[in-house]
Symmetry: C2
Subunit: 340 residues, 2 copies
Amino acid sequence: MKRLTLEEIGRLAGVSRSTVSRVINEQPDVSPEVKKRVLDVIDETGYQPNRAARSLVSSRTDLLGLVIPSSVHNLFADPYFGRLIRGITSAANAAHQTLSLFLFEDEREELELYGRAVASGLVDGMIITATRMGDPLAQRLRDGRLPFVMVGRPDADDIPHVDVDNQAGARLATEHLIGHGYERIGTIAAPSNTTTGVDRRTGFLDAMRAAGRAVKSPLIAEGDFTVESGRFAMDRLLSQQPDAVFCASDTMAAGAMQALEAAGVRVPDDIAIIGFDGILDPSATDPSLTTISQPVRATGERAVNRLLELLDDGTSSPVRTVLPTELITRRSCGCEEAAA
Amino acid sequence: MKRLTLEEIGRLAGVSRSTVSRVINEQPDVSPEVKKRVLDVIDETGYQPNRAARSLVSSRTDLLGLVIPSSVHNLFADPYFGRLIRGITSAANAAHQTLSLFLFEDEREELELYGRAVASGLVDGMIITATRMGDPLAQRLRDGRLPFVMVGRPDADDIPHVDVDNQAGARLATEHLIGHGYERIGTIAAPSNTTTGVDRRTGFLDAMRAAGRAVKSPLIAEGDFTVESGRFAMDRLLSQQPDAVFCASDTMAAGAMQALEAAGVRVPDDIAIIGFDGILDPSATDPSLTTISQPVRATGERAVNRLLELLDDGTSSPVRTVLPTELITRRSCGCEEAAA
DNA sequence: TGCCATGCTGGGAGCGCTCCCGGGAGCGCT
DNA sequence: AGCGCTCCCGGGAGCGCTCCCAGCATGGCA
């Protein structure tokens, strides 16, 4: 069984290469009968145009790069990534684009990618996740001509990206805690080398300041998004006897609650907890976790669609896309259980 | 800045297209001086050969497909996948291969992939993870000519795959529990539509039978690898009053321990628990989880290397590669804490 | 001196596709 | 009848590379 070519399909349908090409690319100027004949031959034979040949001339590969930087090794276990990737995949599938996965162990590999994927024309564009402060890849791509969009806010503000309103979300969470009447509110913050971490911390501090509350630095502990780091952070915080803690991620909140459990501190009676992300099953923690939910899947989908716009606009509209967050009250903050 | 071509590089180095090509592909018959001159021009200019052109003639794309079927949506959060993918990535990077990610929402998308990726020559080969019983994609690929390897044991035994010795591991775990003297041993099994689930269950039953123990079916509960399913399964099991439970995955073991905690049952005093995978931090559960550890990362690396062998042998040696498992004793099975 | 092997280099052909242009058929109008 | 237009269709050219073969030196040998 030899590979089929356009020419061969043309022969079988009694038309020329060009006509078959027009049919496949849904171009006009093909009579209905001819079109049908060609289409019939195509699905009898199961013909698929050769990608390499096609992209050689069109310089389009229909391949989108998906970059997950080294810094997020441990993050991979976070359900957040699963969802994000699923959003990205589903939008890509819908647009008949294929994803190329770039995961790095170290910075050397990360730079090797540039030659392999970007300069050689492997992909049409890139999506970069887990935005870091001063991302070296982003810097480099900005100087190149390969379209890309970042997931999360980059520190340079002229880079197209889609983000969730982390500051507003953190503010919301904090205000909720303040509204409950808690006095000594602390936070388990996300890494300060990520813009996400910075924004959630800023939102927290803003809300506190707006309420006229000072935040002593011992009431701020930093984690790295993992459950373990949440546990450790809470252990440290405990010495300050907070009566409420805003955790910058649900996974860290889960860790924090483990630490509290182990220390015999009751939630929410002794201490209120609120998370961020909205990706845990309510039954995953006891009591169920109040959290700021963000549209993770939609974030992924938007990123793909923004990139696709960039690809054929060249210059798509807004540089920044911001998705809203939402407070989901459950029990860990001290609210009553909602009627089941 | 126009795209560089072989011809252009040749012009700059004062040689022909062909010579440059020979240098790039590390072929013989190039004099040292010429070679150096060409190499110099290449890295002055940062030239990268065009992939499409290259694969059009060589019909090699240096792209490997990575398939994650729809059934594992929920699994994605399992740290197992993160590790596996990292193993795959790192082996692929080392071999200068790029990964294409195929994740599906449903079976329709899954079949659409076949045309998009396989028939059109997008990838050189495929790695299929999360092997299911009667995997439709596997069936189809077997009839095609695209090389592929599966991670996990497929039900058809003529398909190249790399697997971990799940039966032996499950036996090991069960024998350990028996050795402790537990009388009513149950299991939280993995899905029976996965070969992994089947094998771990078989290993458990074999060990029980070998020890002359009957296993009543109420002492078998099935989960789906998630924490939640572990919780539910343990709740069901509890009515049978087991004194030990072999959990077919660490995540389910973690869920089981949550259920026990909630029910006020002490581990390991009232009930012993043993997991499978070896991917949880010892501090993730309290008490620390005894488990069967498997070399997840190595599994991923092997899969890539097997595929690469297939690609240039055409017919690589063993159809089956089996990696060993290992018992890691911690506290949840009733063993004493190892000296720190 | 002639001859063949050997080392290195250049250029033609062609991979399978898209793009462009030219041309035939059919139609309506002057 | 002749003209110009639209609607279809076919074939040439060329994307940037690899592969193959021919050709030019050079050197060793009879």
